[in-house]
Symmetry: C2
Amino acid sequence: MSSAEPAVLAISGGVGGAKLALGLAAVLPPEALQVLVNTGDDFEHLGLHISPDIDTLLYTLSGLADPVQGWGIAGESFHTLDALERLGGEVWFRLGDRDMATHLWRSAALRAGNSLSHVTRELAQRLGVPVVIHPMSDEAVRTTVQTSEGSLPFQHYFVRERCEPAVTGFTFEGVEQARPNAAVMEALQAQRYTDIVICPSNPFVSIDPILQLPGLWQALRDAAAPVSLVSPIVAGTALKGPAAKMMSELGVPVTALGVAQHYAAQYPGLIDWFLIDASDATLAQSIGELGMQVAVTSTVMKTREDKQRLAQFALDLAER
Amino acid sequence: MSSAEPAVLAISGGVGGAKLALGLAAVLPPEALQVLVNTGDDFEHLGLHISPDIDTLLYTLSGLADPVQGWGIAGESFHTLDALERLGGEVWFRLGDRDMATHLWRSAALRAGNSLSHVTRELAQRLGVPVVIHPMSDEAVRTTVQTSEGSLPFQHYFVRERCEPAVTGFTFEGVEQARPNAAVMEALQAQRYTDIVICPSNPFVSIDPILQLPGLWQALRDAAAPVSLVSPIVAGTALKGPAAKMMSELGVPVTALGVAQHYAAQYPGLIDWFLIDASDATLAQSIGELGMQVAVTSTVMKTREDKQRLAQFALDLAER
């Protein structure tokens, strides 16, 4: 299908978002799915341009992903990294040998003057991924985490420091100057999306960098398509990643309600449907009072069936 | 030993030169050996700075080298290259997974503003190589091969085209502006070398780029230390690489005499001792008539003992 035809837009960070994207790709004609993905985690490392969330989506949607850890490539080896360690090089970011090829290819293509959007589309095609993956911007936006130990680039916080320093805030360097993905903005303005689904990704470091691009959240709010969001917090914990720890450190209630309050305060009127897990059903009324419709289902995605069922559930909300 | 103490200087390209360097390192206190190495084959590939001859020396002298092919690392895997091939990337240059670490480390260190000399010294130290490896210059000199199919950067000729196009000449881009290795020039001027040995490397693409650096061959000629050269052509063939094929295409006799004539014409008075294999003993008189002393021995290095014996033979010439 061409990008001018109706499509579903998923908005995603890494591992948790990629699970729902995989479910959506299975229940939709895969060409009918577009994913707008966070690039605030991108960084330059060892001279390579690394786009962790794009790669998690590419590897998940192509079937290459490591099913246990959710990122990287299944059956990966680390011979380069082991040799680099013997040289005393930087090895805190676990670059696998096969994964390395993606970074080398992307970095060369970017140096040759191609946009990140173009390079991502090429990579998807070469990996056999029919879903269109849209980087949130072709310009650099870099998430910085303010912590008790000072300001840290995202990957330093996330990987090198294993999310240990207490978080006090976030900045997205370059976000005010960056233009949101042009194809997504055009499709929003042309009302080409039938559904917009915000995946259960970290609100602070996966979704906020996307929504704070100039004009983007307003364009999502103003689209005719309903915007649904799957809570990344279930029963007071994050299924993956540091979201719960961050909320606790920021003094935000570590609940789906805390997530809903964040979105209601930052992006008023954006969320039409807020999906919570059945274990959080008692929060439905309070979330509803924030002006969102609440849908309750099982949001934990362990199996392929879980992913597809949740994806279908989210899409069906648009019919209500 | 500090670099201010007496030392032997070997001048080398890749595989053939590294064999003799390994022999020299074994018969000398290893700190008493310095190797001045060709960097005309260096190139940028996939965003990496690759120094093939330096790496062949590093891997040979550290014991990491693949003993069969003479370059690269023993037991190497190629997972990155295989994945890059699936992406449609450039894979004609066989970058192994462990070798990749060297290129990543070097490239990062160069980007950080370090000189190639400094970076090479660091790499040698980290790989446990006590020999000092001096890049011929910290500035870029790039060997270009003129062929029947046009002008080719060296690695394109050597690896991608497997030396197939007929050679008509060579240029060393940047050689006039490049400064020869400062430490070697200083040691030459201070008469700190006791022996200078030109290894059995390709005269046209391994040794010429070094000797054509401004002032270098004259400084070697003017040093008190005798300069000996081991013929890379034995019984009309090159033991490794395209030297014989090149000589044939250039209309030069494919013999040790042809090699001697090249040096006599290009660098008059440079070579004190010309070492030929016993199988070429009949050429001794003609080579002697070029104004060089000729020494005849077995120059084929198959075993460790061969390498050490030839190294000791070359060093003993200085006593004569």
